[in-house]
Amino acid sequence: MAAGAAAPSRLRERLGRPIAAWARRRTGADRSPVTLERRRIYILPTRLGLVYGLMLFTMLLAGLNYANNLALGLTFVLAAAGWVAMHECHRNLAGLTVSVQEVRAPFAGDAAHLTYALSAGDGRTRHDIELAIGPTRATSAVDPAALPVLATIELPCPRRGRFVLPRLAVESRFPLGLCRAWSWLHFDQPLTVYPCPAARAPDRRVADPGDQGRRTETARGDEDVADLRPYRAGDALRRVAWKAYARGGTLLVRDLSGSGGAPSYFDLADIAGADIEARLAVLCRLIVDAAARGDRYGLRLGDHEVASGSGTAHRARCLEALAGYGLSP
């Protein structure tokens, strides 16, 4: 059955699109966290549920035909169990709180790791909650006694760009697999996909005019106390002056801004090539490498400029600029 859901037929697609649009209009964009209320939970019988119904109908006919009340009683016990299962299925989702825990921006071609947190504030244990974006899904049980449960979906992202998180389906077939209850969540949260970094950086001279200065600066060594400043959170560990730390017991960092080394700028205009995606890929590689070394760097993309800096946030800013370059926001 899961296989059927995973490979939607064309008919399903044709039917599904307007329904999806309707559901989107109905609930609007969601701000994390969202607690699933009854009105946004949909429920339909699965194929197994339909077969179960058919079985009950056959049993009913047999019981009526043989005028056998015990056979009818058995049929009704099964029918009632199915009916309770339907309610349980719905209840399994109702009251569940879903929030976006972490969106790790991927490079194009990789998978975005979308981590959602599930929690049940009402003290009921939830079973077999499945999170799905299209065919990719993750399963988890929610135990109210524990902290929120995290479920991570690895969403393949083939193209760079700035997106919004795709529609998340929170669904469950618990307990008997006869019904599928689901809710659609349209989290209003950006998903940035960086360009895929090029396999290797091009010739440094062309790409990195400030390279020379940086090299001389590196060569100067640790003893130059004048360039040291106290460690701040976020400084690259490779910049820590470990010798100075050994001497004085305080963490000092070699400060580049004060030094003579001019900050390097990566400029799209410096990258040769016709294909804009390939050029962005090269820039991406440069930024990733520079960030890995802990260098200071800036980025120029035509009119747009990211001022020189370093650190994770800076790297993210630069890569985001690359992700959104040339695309309508």
């Binding site: 197994l48 035909n65 009340n69 009704f76 309770v84």
Partner: protein, 658 residues
């Protein structure tokens, strides 16, 4: 959807257990080869768990499935019958087990378990079978519960969940049971299997036929009377009149089975009663003599006074395969004036096979010559039985080719059928129309349930004689030999040695048997016998006016709504809402108070950061809040919190008024 087989195989023991239990309900009726196939299939698969081996290919299985279908068809010549259908189902289950791998396969197995349980109940609706079917259903539901889950699901308290599903559903099941409309007839005719033995009086009578029944304590039917219970001596329950005799065996002639014209009856003196008839797998409905009318079943009355259950207006007699209840009225025999006996019937009820029972004929001629009227003659015959050394026994000596003569003149020991047969022969030999009637005599009042229980052991045979001006009059020659049989039932009438051997007299046995009978009667009436008639009566009692189907549908809807409401209320009432602890509540109170002053804590803001912000924004409250937060942090994050801190913290919050 392909998975490592080992992951799915962990459900195999449960699946095989459920199937095995379900098949147990059909042991004894399934063909041996299907039983063997089933056992081999289960064993193969269960051993395969230990020693993985390639599962049979699907094509091979398909051939097997088709083959078993053909064999079943050849075996039973139908797939419609219960036994044939069950056999096919079990064969399919055996084949399915072999290839079971995916959740879908397990679902199929669960459905087969449900169907097998149903078939078991169709076979015989007994409380024991119900318990068995419910146990199977439990396992089937649990199988669904355990297998219809995502691959990566965590373990589940499956038994508890199953109990919850079935338990919460129970009220709805009861509502459905009460209000789902029952049918008057059938959708399709069900072939009665040849293997299903009839019980109760047979359609023909030869010496020894009823004596066999006398040993059975099975209930035949129950009767409730509107008004006083007739005396035991007049409780003759007619089932069938046998008018054709071949010298050995009494049978029912085709003539007797013709439709009877309505007899004139005085309904003012009629006795009204209702009968719950256990399945007899025959069409005949027992009734008191001189039936006036009946209701509750579709039936026809034949020329010999037999009431037969009928399939439809035109048609065929229908066998009583399930508990059948009906009401009827009958008048005491003397109250009905009758006309003439038609010539065909007279000829029929006078005929004796030529050459049979010569000595009996001679005796009849002799006695008839010496009596003035038919009644005189009958009295002489009964007197003959009384005065000659006849014995009433369950163990008569076997009779030869001329049983009536042998019985009357040689063995002189027999059960009621011997006496009835001899009596009718003597009547016919003397030119008096007579026939044998088989049915039941007596019945015991059950003090617990206030009903009359007639067991198979009350089976009896007697005679009816046509007397001009009086019609068919009942004479019971057994009463002449063993009056105790009629007055007190079989137990008192048998010779002491036989009675000790066959009957039990312990008071406590009889007492507890009566209590059990009453329980069974209640079960039969309330559960098995619940039908469209009872539904109509229920609607009537509820004050429903109009179409009963609409009424049932309305009540069914109401029942659904009520159950849903009950479930919802229960959920709301028993919802566990984790209450924040005292510290948390106090902390939230402090934050709310600050928020009212325009300083709301950001959800992501830790207490220390918030305190810092409060210090800068509201220097006046900063110190007090600082203390408060320090206390809070101690309680929350210290490795060994002190109880006093909690009190201090709550006190501080109470005093904290920004």
């Amino acid at each position: 959807m392909s998975r490592a087989p080992s992951a799915a195989d962990r459900h195999l023991p449960l699946a095989c257990g459920a199937l095995g239990l379900a098949v147990l309900g059909h042991v004894g009726v399934l063909p041996t080869w299907i039983g063997l196939l089933f056992i081999v299939a289960l064993a193969t698969r269960l051993l395969g768990v230990l020693q993985p081996r390639p599962i049979l290919r699907r094509t091979v299985l398909a051939v097997f499935a088709l083959g078993s279908g053909v064999v079943v068809l050849a075996n039973f010549r139908t797939l419609n019958g219960l036994t044939a259908g069950t056999s096919l189902l079990v064969a399919m289950a055996a084949l399915k087990v072999v290839e079971t791998e995916r959740p879908r396969d397990y679902a199929t197995l669960a459905f087969i378990v449900f169907f097998l349980s149903l078939a078991s109940l169709l076979r015989a609706p007994s409380p024991l079978r119900l318990a068995h079917a419910l146990a199977c259903t439990w396992l089937g539901v649990q199988l669904l519960l355990e297998t219809q889950r995502p691959a990566a699901a965590s373990p589940l308290p499956a038994a508890r969940q199953t109990a919850r599903l079935l338990g919460l559903g129970l009220p709805l099941a009861v509502v459905l049971f009460i209000f789902v409309p029952r049918l008057e007839g059938r959708f399709w005719a069900v072939p009665s299997g040849g293997s299903e033995a009839t019980s109760g009086v047979a359609e023909e009578m030869n010496p020894g036929a009823i004596a066999k029944l006398a040993l059975s304590d099975e209930p035949a039917f129950r009767v409730r009377f509107d008004g006083p219970l007739p005396e035991r001596a007049s409780r003759y329950w007619r089932v069938l009149a046998l008018d054709a005799f071949d010298g050995q065996t009494w049978r029912r002639s085709a003539l007797a089975a013709t439709l009877a014209p309505a007899e004139p009856a005085d309904s003012r003196v009629a006795v009204r009663y209702s009968v719950e008839l256990e399945p007899s797998h025959q069409a005949w409905l027992p009734n008191l003599e001189r039936l006036v009318d009946w209701s509750g079943v579709r039936a026809r009355r034949d020329a010999d006074g037999t009431l037969a259950l009928q399939d439809n207006e035109a048609g065929q007699p229908q066998k009583v395969d399930s508990l059948t209840s009906y009401s009827a009225r009958a008048t005491p025999p003397s109250a009905v004036p009758t006309g003439e006996l038609d010539a065909t019937t007279r000829r029929r009820t006078l005929s004796l096979p030529s050459g049979s029972a010569p000595r009996s004929r001679a005796l009849a001629g002799e006695m008839r010559a010496g009596s003035a009227t038919s009644r005189d003659y009958i009295a002489r015959v009964l007197g003959y039985f009384r005065t000659e050394p006849f014995a009433y026994t369950l163990e008569p000596p076997p009779l030869g080719p001329n049983p009536v003569d042998e019985f009357l003149f040689t063995s002189r020991a027999g059960f009621c059928e011997h006496y009835a047969s001899a009596f009718v022969v003597l009547m016919r030999a003397a030119g008096i129309p007579a026939r044998v009637v088989i049915g039941y005599q007596g019945g015991d009042l059950n003090a617990y349930g206030n009903f009359l229980l007639v067991r198979q052991s009350a089976a009896h045979a007697w005679a009816e004689v046509w007397l001009d001006g009086e019609g068919w009059v009942r004479f019971d020659p057994t009463a002449a030999i063993a009056p105790e049989r009629i007055r007190a039932g079989l137990d008192g009438a048998l010779p002491e040695a036989e009675a000790r051997r066959y009957r039990h007299h312990f008071a406590w046995v009889l007492e507890s048997r009566a209590a059990l009978d009453a329980l069974k009667a209640g079960w039969d009436r309330l559960v098995l016998g619940y039908s469209s008639r009872q539904q109509a009566r229920l609607l009537d009692r509820l004050g429903w006016i109009g179409d009963p189907l609409t009424g049932l549908a309305t009540l069914l809807g109401a029942g659904f709504a009520l159950t849903a409401l009950t479930l919802l209320t229960l959920q709301l009432a028993f919802r566990v809402r984790p209450r924040p602890d005292r510290v948390q509540r106090a902390w939230e109170l402090a934050c709310r108070r600050l928020a009212r002053r325009g300083l709301a804590r950001d959800p992501a803001e830790g207490p220390l950061d918030f305190a810092r912000r409060v210090r800068t924004a509201r220097p006046g409250d900063g110190a007090a809040f600082d203390e408060l937060v320090r206390c809070y942090v101690r309680i929350r994050y210290e490795r060994a919190p002190v109880a006093a801190d909690t009190e201090e913290f709550i006190g501080r919050v109470r005093r904290f008024r920004p």
